[in-house]
């Protein structure tokens, strides 16, 4: 109601103000029995109708009276001259119209300002869309802020997301702050269909209450129930239902063949359902098949189950964390044989926070960068507008001299700014929508929640906010400067005057632009160095011309003890293909980030001495190191004989060798590993030492890698590594055929060049680098344009002065030096401020850098040189123009 009154008081003629109260009376009467919202709506309808009618009416009256006056007729009574109260809607409309006319009269200038602002606003909106989708929008589950993921620190495996069956049941029993504790397994490959129809799809198992905990209801059929303990049932994804089963609604209740066994399809999950777990979650959004997970209280030594906790409405995360830590300590006390003397700590991470933690630092860095580009753009626009206002100084001064109040002039300039900012904001939203698609096409693939990165109402609200802030930021200085012009001064100087204060404001703007550019350039430089370091990191293996593919066995047809032999046969058949130079096999794909980690010890005699040492173990076929392109330092690779006789041998990397037997030759030494595998003798003899291959990922602190013969495991799945002389991708079909002929009974899948896996592991750095570099590029261009435009303006202003100087004998060189000097002084000021800022802000970047210090002097120096060169060029052009001035012409002007 108050806003309505305000609007009417500013729209109605002063002699009609009684209407304000009467309207409320009309409404009170009319909407006596109506709903509050209906009454509000009715009131506003009335207010706006009256405001509109009276605005039109007064316009009509004015025209009427003018016509009569011109016709010599009588003038109608009534307030015709604007009073202060009269700064109303209609005069606001007049101002807008006038501003629009003014801007359209200079289309080039207006378009430039709009484009510059859009260059700043567009990226800000695009990055905000990502921030919004990732960090601000709640996860698509019921009460997502009450969900947590259990992580454990186990023997130095930092914040591992998996726990064991027994632990899950203990948490369910003892965690009072939780209303539900449910778990999901890591994903695995399942084979759907029979015979030639077989396709590989990802599947996993989840506890019976898992979907209830998330608050996810199947769109068809049902979720898991108690009776499913006894049955073979499966829940399928909407994608599988649509792609594979033709969206057949009768599918629910039918059986389908999975891994050559019949399963009942009990339900179809909703199309938008995605399980999103944080780093190391092991369940991708590709999972199509969900089987019931039955918990075995006796199973305590396999920590593979991702466990979600729903807090009770009363509990806080702090309480739950304390509870869970206490329960963990109890477990360690109750089962000393399980945990040995490893350090174990249970923790609970809020699900959303856990998910976005790895990308948050990079995202905030980018957000900072776009904010700076926005500031530079505003700054630049302010510079242009200031020059524009100064050129209009005469007009504005004249208006003031004729009685326009100062705030009317201020208003006028601010409205122009607002119009420009609005156009730029609209353009920015469009640019952001287009740019976002490009951005997401380049994203490294590990960015969670890509689907929720859309321009929604929050983003639009942000866009409107940014536009207004931008408008204030770039509009206020020119408006202030324009309105403070002393009419007499300006008019006396014939518009040529150069107020020192205005000059200072402009100079400050340029210095700020250069400073922001320096900060961004240094940031981009540091990321370029990071990328260089990542590229030049010695992987310890050679990924060129190596193809990786997953091979799976029909585990019911091939006995456990014969599986390694089948894999070895596959490898040898592929090796026999022309062009193939080496073939190996490994149970996990390199760089997939998934290894099999456990403790080891050089002390083979004492029973339980592990010393908290952890290594990453990989079961391998013969000659795998050769296929991987790894480098042996001493000894030999795992050979066929090792597998045939299932010898207890291992190849270790030099980091383990140096840590355990410093200065000694480890070949022939024995060590024991904490692995329970039916065919593995835990005491192993070292037959080879290799250079550490960075097959975990390219960046994390390396963990020692140990290769063990595949014959000691009964796994039915592995990654084949095929090295060829050239262009291994062209061999895919032949390799598939060879695998099929070997008789695995299952198709191969996940075919990828090893180089692609390496590139992917470096992807996020490349992504940030790409964005940072383009932002820095834009920033440098904008600030160069800023220096150029200010200097060009100055040169024009000084033309008269230059003419006098030259007439008095100044050489062209002097004039050139004078003007370049002015530009360079501004640039140096900006560099000093920017360098100080970068030194201050560099710490923020630390988390996304690799192999370069955040205050790397060489990078700082490089950025400064780039800015200096750009500033030099930007100053040179107007300076040359000044030096070419003909003194006679300049003086005559």
């Amino acid at each position: 109601m108050n806003a309505g009154r305000w609007l009417l008081r500013h729209t109605l003629p002063p002699d009609e103000l009684a209407i304000v109260g009467e309207i409320e009376e009309v409404c009170a009467d009319r909407y006596r029995h109506a709903h509050r919202w209906r009454a509000h709506l009715g009131y506003w309808h009335l207010v706006l109708a009256i405001a509109f009618r009276f605005t039109v009416e007064r316009r009509r009256e004015r025209q009427h009276s003018t016509r009569r006056r011109l016709a010599g007729g009588p003038v109608l009574p009534g307030p015709e001259f604007p009073t202060e109260r009269n700064l109303t809607m209609s005069s606001l409309l007049d101002d807008v119209r006038q501003a629009l006319r003014h801007l359209l009269r200079r289309p080039g200038f207006s378009a430039t300002v709009v484009l510059i602002l859009a260059v700043g606003i567009g990226p800000a909106i695009a990055i905000f869309t990502v921030v919004n989708g990732l960090l601000l929008r709640p996860l698509p589950y019921e009460d997502p802020e009450r969900l947590g993921l259990v992580r454990i620190d186990l023997s130095g495996l930092e914040a591992h997301p998996g726990i064991s069956h027994g632990e899950i049941l203990d948490l369910r029993e003892g965690l009072r702050s939780a209303s539900a504790v449910e778990a999901v397994n890591r994903e695995f490959t399942t084979i759907l269909g029979e015979g030639s129809e077989m396709v590989a799809r990802k599947g996993t198992t989840a506890t019976l209450g898992f979907f209830d905990l998330l608050g996810v209801q199947p769109i068809l059929g049902r979720s898991f129930i108690e009776a499913d303990r006894e049955e073979r049932v499966v829940l399928i994804s909407h994608r599988l239902w649509a792609d594979h089963f033709g969206a057949d609604p009768a599918l629910v209740g039918e059986t389908t063949i999975i891994n050559t066994t019949a399963y009942h399809v009990v339900g179809v999950l909703p199309p938008n359902f995605k399980l999103m777990l944080g780093p190391g979650g092991g369940v991708s959004t590709e999972v199509d098949l969900w089987f019931p997970l039955l918990l075995d209280p006796e199973s305590r030594n396999f920590w593979g189950f991702r466990t979600l906790v729903r807090l009770t409405p009363e509990a806080s995360f702090a309480e739950a964390r304390a509870d869970i830590e206490r329960l963990g300590e109890e477990m360690v006390r109750n089962f000393p044989a399980i945990y040995e003397n490893a350090s174990v700590r249970f923790d609970l991470h809020p699900l959303h926070e856990d998910l976005v933690a790895p990308v948050r630092p990079a995202l905030l860095v980018l957000f900072g960068a776009v904010a700076m580009v926005l500031l530079i753009a505003c700054n630049n626009a302010a510079g242009l507008l200031l020059a524009g206002t100064l050129a209009r100084a005469k007009e504005l001064a004249l208006r003031q001299a004729l009685g326009a109040q100062r705030y009317r002039v201020l208003n006028q300039v601010m409205i122009e700014s607002l119009l420009l900012a609005s156009a730029a904001g609209a353009l920015g939203v469009l640019a952001a929508r287009v740019g976002l698609q490009g951005l997401l096409a380049f994203q490294p693939g590990n960015l969670p929640r890509v689907g929720s990165m859309v321009v929604d109402s929050t983003v639009l609200a942000f866009a409107v906010g940014v536009t207004f802030v931008a408008c204030l930021a770039f509009g206020i200085i020119p408006a202030w400067q324009g309105s403070r012009a002393e009419a007499a001064d300006v008019l006396r100087q014939g518009g040529r005057g150069r107020g020192t204060l205005r000059g200072q404001a402009r100079n400050a703007l340029v210095v700020a632009q250069v400073a922001f550019s320096v900060v961004l350039l240094i940031g981009a430089g540091l990321l370029i160095r990071t990328m260089q370091h990542l590229q030049s990191v010695d992987l310890g293996f050679d990924p060129t011309n190596v193809l990786t593919l997953r091979v799976q066995l029909d585990q019911r047809a091939i006995a456990r003890e014969e599986r390694w032999a089948m894999f070895q046969t596959v490898a040898e058949r592929v090796r026999a293909l022309p062009g193939v130079t080496a073939v190996g096999g490994m149970q996990e794909t390199p760089l997939s980030g998934r290894g099999f980690r456990s403790s080891y010890s050089a002390d083979i005699d004492s029973a339980d001495e592990w010393n908290g040492t952890t290594a990453d173990y990989r079961w391998v076929l013969a000659d795998t190191l050769e296929a991987l392109g790894g480098r042996l330092i001493s000894g030999r690779d795992i050979r066929r004989e090792d597998l045939e006789e299932n010898r207890p041998v291992a190849v270790i990397d030099q980091s383990l060798a140096e840590a355990t037997w410093p200065g000694e030759n480890p070949i022939g030494k024995r060590f024991k590993v904490m692995i329970e595998s039916p065919a593995l003798d835990p005491v192993l003899e070292i037959v080879g030492v290799m250079e550490h291959p960075k097959i975990i990922d390219g960046r994390t602190v390396p963990m020692p890698i140990v290769l063990l013969p595949f014959s000691a495991t009964h796994r039915g799945e592995m990654t084949l590594l095929v090295r060829a002389e050239r262009d291994v991708a062209s061999l895919v079909d032949e390799i598939r055929g060879a695998v099929h002929l070997a008789g695995t009974g299952r198709p191969v899948h996940s075919v990828q060049p090893l180089e692609a896996l390496v590139a992917n592991a470096r992807g996020d750095a490349r992504f940030i680098l790409l964005l940072m570099s383009s932002l820095a590029g834009v920033a440098v261009l904008l600030s160069a344009a800023g220096i150029y435009s200010v200097l060009a303006y100055l040169v024009r202003q000084r033309q008269h002065e230059t003419g006098v100087r030259m007439a008095l004998g100044a050489a062209r060189g002097d004039i050139l030096r004078l003007n370049i000097g002015t530009g360079m002084v501004l640039a140096i000021g900006g560099v000093l401020v920017g360098t100080a800022g970068a030194l201050f802000l560099a710490g923020w970047l630390e988390s996304v850098l690799f192999g370069v210090a955040p205050r790397d002097p060489a990078t700082f120096a490089g950025a400064i040189v780039v800015i200096a060169v750009v500033a030099g060029i930007a100053s040179l052009v107007p300076a040359l123009r000044a030096a070419r001035v003909e003194p006679a012409l300049a003086l005559r002007d």
């Binding site: 009609e16 009684a18 009467e22 009309v26 509109f52 009276f54 009588p74």
Partner: protein, 113 residues
């Protein structure tokens, strides 16, 4: 003023407003005027139209207005009461005459239907 006010034309709403003011007598301000037109002529007029009509009538000096003291209750409002001037009444009479003359002899035409 040399203007002959009686030569002014009345709009339909203006005429309705003038008649409503006459009917209401001392109680003629915005809200009852709107009600009177709605109640008697069966016509829902937009309040904005009524207020604009009142303004025009005032400028044509067909009505005069006086503002009352605020009602003696908390939040009581000052109201603007209207009364029709002599010129207004003259114009209404002319308008009525004009209409009656136009209707003369047409009564049977309506009754036939």
């Amino acid at each position: 003023m040399a203007m002959n006010k009686t030569s002014e034309n009345l709009g339909e709403i203006e005429e309705l407003v003038l008649l409503a003011i006459l009917r209401l007598g001392d109680d003629a301000y915005g809200v009852p005027i709107i009600h009177e037109i709605a109640g008697r002529a069966g016509r829902e007029v937009a309040p904005a139209a009524v207020y604009v009509a009142l303004r025009r009538l005032r400028h044509k000096e067909l009505v005069t207005s006086r503002t009352s003291a605020p009602e003696p209750v908390p939040g009581g409002r000052a109201r603007r009461y209207f009364s029709v001037t002599k010129a207004g009444i003259e114009l209404l009479a002319q308008s009525r005459q004009k209409m009656l003359r136009m209707w003369e002899g047409l009564q049977p035409l309506l009754e036939k239907r």
